[in-house]
Each structure stands twice: as structure tokens, then as C-alpha cells.
């Protein structure tokens, strides 16, 4: 649905250019919810704005629904933008227009007649549960309600793609959840392709199918959310995930020195991550039975990413060096992810 190839974006400034995006390529499939996460200034907004050409890439191509956006004339681009909805962190509603008129705005731009507009706006207001607010002004609404208006407005022209730039960053956690649920609902009901920009891993975890991590204008990691979550490669990705889930070390081990070399009488800390069906296998009991090791379970939790269950467990293996080695090989063969942390006393 969306293909960005080798996008570069340089902002010209008084003291040379700022390279906001460097050779960014990504593909978003139809019906997918694609998350882009990164720190402030990483280039997330620039990236998402390159999709509807609010920002014109310095180099590279942008193809949305088969249209090469950068080659369109001004009028063609305006037409193409009508099938790309966008919602914003600060909502960007017209303060002088009622909720109804805000949602009707994109339709009036296309010159639709008022009866047809009413027939479209009313169901949209129901979809976002704002029927009773139609004649209120944005100043009379809460943040969550304003974002609902933003969503209804973005959907009015029946777009194929919805771009969300930090759409929940100005909202409290509960409202965030409700808005994300609404977006997920719409994604399922309408088969809409969604791109979500955020700096919160929680948002990615709650609704995205795929994720790309952006650092200083470069995509450093991307893939299915479940894979990136359970097997992060980059330190920053790990950092994002640990903010969400904690380090996963029990309190008494958090400050303990961890050594790469075996410690006599010590334990080897290993983190196991189970994904999907393997979450149910009796790995630990087999391990203890077959190999001459002890396995203390130090920490464990079960969670789910979108609809896939996954579990994380921290075990301490102790036994002879050979036994521990064999136990590790056994674990490596299993359908799970293992991360060897090190030895503690």
C-alpha cells in the first residue's frame, strides 16, 4: 500500500543542512497497522509527512496505492491526499467550526452537497461516539473527544490510509487506550492501512502488526512487533522495551555484579522468551529431568502482543559446567528465544 524507497530529507538551515532522514526504505502492506517508534528528533514526523508529501523528500520515491506521489502535479497531489487521512498530536481542528462542520470540512472541500454530507457525517459521529456533541465547538471538548473528531474528519473522505502523528501523545493513558481501540476497530471494520508514529512502546505493543525503529534519521530495526519485542537487536530497542516491561531482574539481582566467566557455586542467568504455542510446552521440567542441573525460576510473566501470547522467564541454572552447557544446548534447540545474561554468585 505504501512503499518508501531510499528516502532522504535534508532541511536547509542557516548553518548547513540537517539530514532528518537518511536512506529510509519501508513497505506497509494493505490493512496493516505499522508503527514507527523513535526518540524526539529522530525524524518520525518528517517520515510520516513524506508519505502525503506535506514534506517533499529531497531524494527517493514515495508510492501510495500505486501512485508515485512525487511525480504528481499540484492538483493531482491534492486529489491523492484525499485518500490519505491524517490525525495529529494537537488535533488541529478548526476552532471556529462545530464538531459537525469540522467533520464535514473535507467533504465541503470536494463540493459535495449538504444532504450527502449529512448522510456521511452522522454515521461517522456515531462511529466515534460523538452524536450528542455535533453542535459543540472544539473548545468545549476534552482531548480524547477532540481526537475522535480528528479521526472522524480523517475518515470522512473514505481514505485508504490513515497516518497518525503522535495521535495519543497529548492524552492520558486511559484515553490513549480508548483512542487506540477505536483505531484498531476502524482498521478491522474498514480494512484501513494505518501508520502510527509514537515514542511510546506501549502504543506499538497494543495495536501494531509491524514496527520500525528510527534513530537519527535511519531505520535501525524493523519487523513484526512480536519478533522485535521478543528479540530486540539494538540497544535502543531494548531500552524502549525495558521501559515498558522493566529489566525483568528481581530486585535482589538488579545491582549484583554479573560476570561473563563461571563463578564457583554460582548460577547462570538465562532469559527465556516463549512465543505463541510454545508458551505451553513443559520446557523447564524436561530440562531438570534430563540434565543434571537445577533451574530456579526467578521471574516470569505472560503477556500478549496484539493477539499473540508470549511469556518471559528468567531462570538461574546451576550444576557442573558440562551440565549447564548441555542444558543450554537443549534450550537452544527448542522453539523459544534465549538470552544468556551471565553468572551471578
Amino acid at each position: 500500500m505504501i512503499t518508501l524507497s531510499h528516502i532522504e530529507k535534508t532541511y536547509e538551515g542557516p548553518d548547513g543542512g540537517v539530514a532528518a532522514l537518511k536512506d529510509v526504505s519501508l513497505t506497509v502492506a494493505k490493512g496493516e497497522i505499522f508503527g514507527i517508534i523513535g526518540l524526539s528528533g529522530a525524524g518520525k514526523s518528517t517520515l510520516v509527512r513524506c508519505i502525503n508529501l506535506l514534506e517533499r523528500p529531497t531524494k527517493g520515491s514515495v508510492v501510495v496505492d500505486g501512485l508515485d506521489m512525487t511525480s504528481l502535479s499540484a492538483a493531482e497531489l491534492r486529489e491523492a491526499r484525499k485518500s490519505i487521512g491524517m490525525i495529529f498530536q494537537h488535533f488541529n481542528l478548526l476552532s471556529s467550526a462545530t464538531v459537525y462542520d469540522n467533520v464535514a470540512f473535507p467533504l465541503r472541500l470536494s463540493g459535495m452537497d449538504e444532504d450527502k454530507i449529512r448522510a456521511k457525517v452522522e454515521p461517522l459521529l456515531s462511529l466515534v461516539s460523538l452524536d450528542d456533541k455535533a453542535n459543540q465547538y472544539p473548545a468545549q471538548l476534552s482531548g480524547g473527544q477532540k481526537q475522535r473528531v480528528g479521526i472522524a474528519r480523517a475518515l470522512a473522505s473514505e481514505p485508504k490510509v490513515l497516518l497518525c502523528d503522535e495521535a495519543t501523545s497529548a492524552l492520558d493513558p486511559q484515553t490513549t487506550k480508548a483512542i487506540l481501540e477505536l483505531i484498531r476497530d476502524i482498521n478491522q471494520k474498514l480494512g484501513l492501512t494505518v501508520v502510527i508514529i509514537t515514542h511510546e512502546m506501549q502504543v506499538i505493543k497494543d495495536i501494531c502488526d509491524k514496527v520500525a525503529v528510527i534513530e537519527n534519521g535511519v531505520i535501525t530495526e524493523s519487523g513484526r512487533v512480536i519478533d522485535v519485542f521478543t528479540d530486540p537487536q539494538r540497544p535502543m530497542t531494548k531500552e524502549f522495551i525495558s521501559v515498558l516491561m522493566g529489566s525483568g531482574l528481581p530486585p535482589d539481582l538488579q545491582n549484583a555484579p554479573i560476570s561473563a566467566e563461571p563463578i564457583p557455586g554460582g548460577r547462570l542467568l538465562v532469559r527465556l522468551t516463549f512465543v505463541g504455542s510454545s508458551a505451553g510446552e513443559p520446557v523447564i521440567s524436561t530440562l531438570i529431568r534430563k540434565y543434571d542441573v537445577e533451574a530456579d525460576i526467578l521471574y516470569g510473566n505472560i503477556d500478549s502482543i496484539k493477539d499473540t501470547p508470549y511469556g518471559r522467564m528468567l531462570i538461574g541454572l546451576s550444576g557442573t559446567a558440562d551440565a549447564v552447557e548441555n542444558a543450554l544446548s537443549f534450550l537452544r534447540e527448542k522453539d523459544l528465544r534465549i538470552e544468556v545474561i551471565g553468572y551471578v554468585a
Binding site: N52, R78, R81, M86, N92, L93, L94, F105, S110, A139
Partner: protein, 219 residues
């Protein structure tokens, strides 16, 4: 107050109001588009054209830097061309309008700049044309602020019209100078000042009320 003073006052007030209203309408008709032009043709605007923008800004600044009393005298040939005469209430409307156009242009520019760029951007993302952005976003969003700014212009016009009166334009200024000062009738001077104060208060009050009614940002 004697009846003749009262009728003098009413006639002068009528002339002042005529000068202000006509100049204001004419200057708004040109000044508002000028303000729109100043904002939209600036770098990064929806009709970006920096060369035109700089040229217009230079003309605006030039006119604004001429004191009204000098402008009025300097353009007498032009006034004669437009109004057919260079004295009287009708003639005064020409320099009053000319002086107000750049003033309104700048005031409107300020109001339009207060419209958050995010709203413009949202409209662009929805495929709005530059004209749609001007008519459906900039002007409605800035309307309360434009009304407040135009109120200031009307009040400035009341003052300038009095100046115009002093050189033969009629109106309250003329009355105050000719009767109050030259014929030494302090009661006329006082009455004129009171009428002027009342007029300005009324304009300010009406302007504030209208701006407040239009403003949906704070409810």
C-alpha cells in the same frame, strides 16, 4: 446648550461618521486582501512568492511611515482626480482610505499569523486548494481577531478624520478648531471632545462585543 450649537454638533458628527464609515469600508475592501497576500505569499505560505511579498511589504511600509497630515497634503492632486475636489468631507475620504489600507493590511496579517500552522497543515493534508485555505481556514479562524484589529483601525480613523477636518474636511475636528479655538467658544470645544470620547467608547464597546461573540476558542 443652545439649539444652534446642538445642530452644529450633529452635523459635524454626521460628517465624521460618514468619513469614517466610507473610508473604513473602502480600506477594508483592499486592506484585508492585502493582509492575506502578505501572509500567503511569504516564504512557506500557501501561495509562497517571496519576491512579490517583499515588494508589497516595501510599499506598505513606505505608506505607513508617512505621517497622516503630510500624506494628506502630498496626495492632493490624486485626491482631486478621485473626488473631483481637494476640500470637504468627500475629499478627506481619499487620504483617510489610503492611509488605512496598509494599516489594515498589517493588522490583518498579524491576525492571520495567529492561526496555528497545524490547522493549515491539516487542511493541506485534506487536499485543500490555496483559495480554500484562505476562505475556509484563515479567514474564519482569524475572524474574531480581525474584528478586534479593525476596531483599532476605526478608532484611529476617528482621530485622523479630525485632522482632515482641520484643513477643511468638515466633521468634529473642523468644528472644534473653527468654533472652539478660532472663535474662542470653549463650550463647543468641550462638547466636541465629549462627543469624540463617546464615539470612540461606543466603537470599542461594539468591537469588543462582536469579537467576543465570534470567538469560539474560549467558551
Amino acid at each position: 446648550m443652545s439649539p444652534d450649537v446642538f445642530s452644529l454638533l450633529m452635523k459635524a458628527l454626521g460628517e465624521t461618521v460618514a468619513m469614517v464609515v466610507v473610508s473604513m469600508v473602502a480600506a477594508t475592501a483592499i486592506g484585508v486582501p492585502l493582509g492575506v497576500l502578505l501572509v500567503t505569499t511569504a516564504k512557506g505560505g500557501v501561495l509562497a512568492c517571496p519576491v512579490l511579498n517583499r515588494a508589497v511589504a516595501a510599499v506598505v511600509n513606505a505608506i505607513r511611515s508617512i505621517p497622516f497630515i503630510i500624506l494628506m497634503v502630498a496626495i492632493i492632486p490624486f485626491t482631486r482626480l478621485v473626488a473631483g475636489t481637494s476640500i470637504g468631507t468627500t475629499a478627506a475620504m481619499v487620504p483617510l482610505t489610503l492611509a488605512s489600507i496598509p494599516f489594515i493590511g498589517r493588522q490583518v496579517e498579524t491576525s492571520l499569523r495567529e492561526v496555528p500552522y497545524g490547522i493549515i497543515e491539516a487542511a493541506l493534508a485534506m487536499g485543500a486548494t490555496p483559495m480554500q485555505i484562505i476562505w475556509r481556514v484563515y479567514l474564519p479562524e482569524a475572524l474574531p481577531s480581525i474584528v478586534a484589529q479593525l476596531t483599532t483601525v476605526v478608532i484611529a480613523l476617528v482621530g485622523e478624520s479630525a485632522m482632515a477636518g482641520a484643513i477643511g474636511g468638515g466633521g468634529l475636528g473642523d468644528l472644534a478648531i473653527r468654533y472652539g479655538y478660532q472663535r474662542f467658544r470653549p463650550e463647543i470645544m468641550l462638547a466636541t471632545v465629549i462627543v469624540l470620547i463617546a464615539l470612540v467608547q461606543l466603537v470599542q464597546f461594539a468591537g469588543n462585543a462582536l469579537a467576543k461573540k465570534l470567538n469560539k476558542k474560549e467558551m
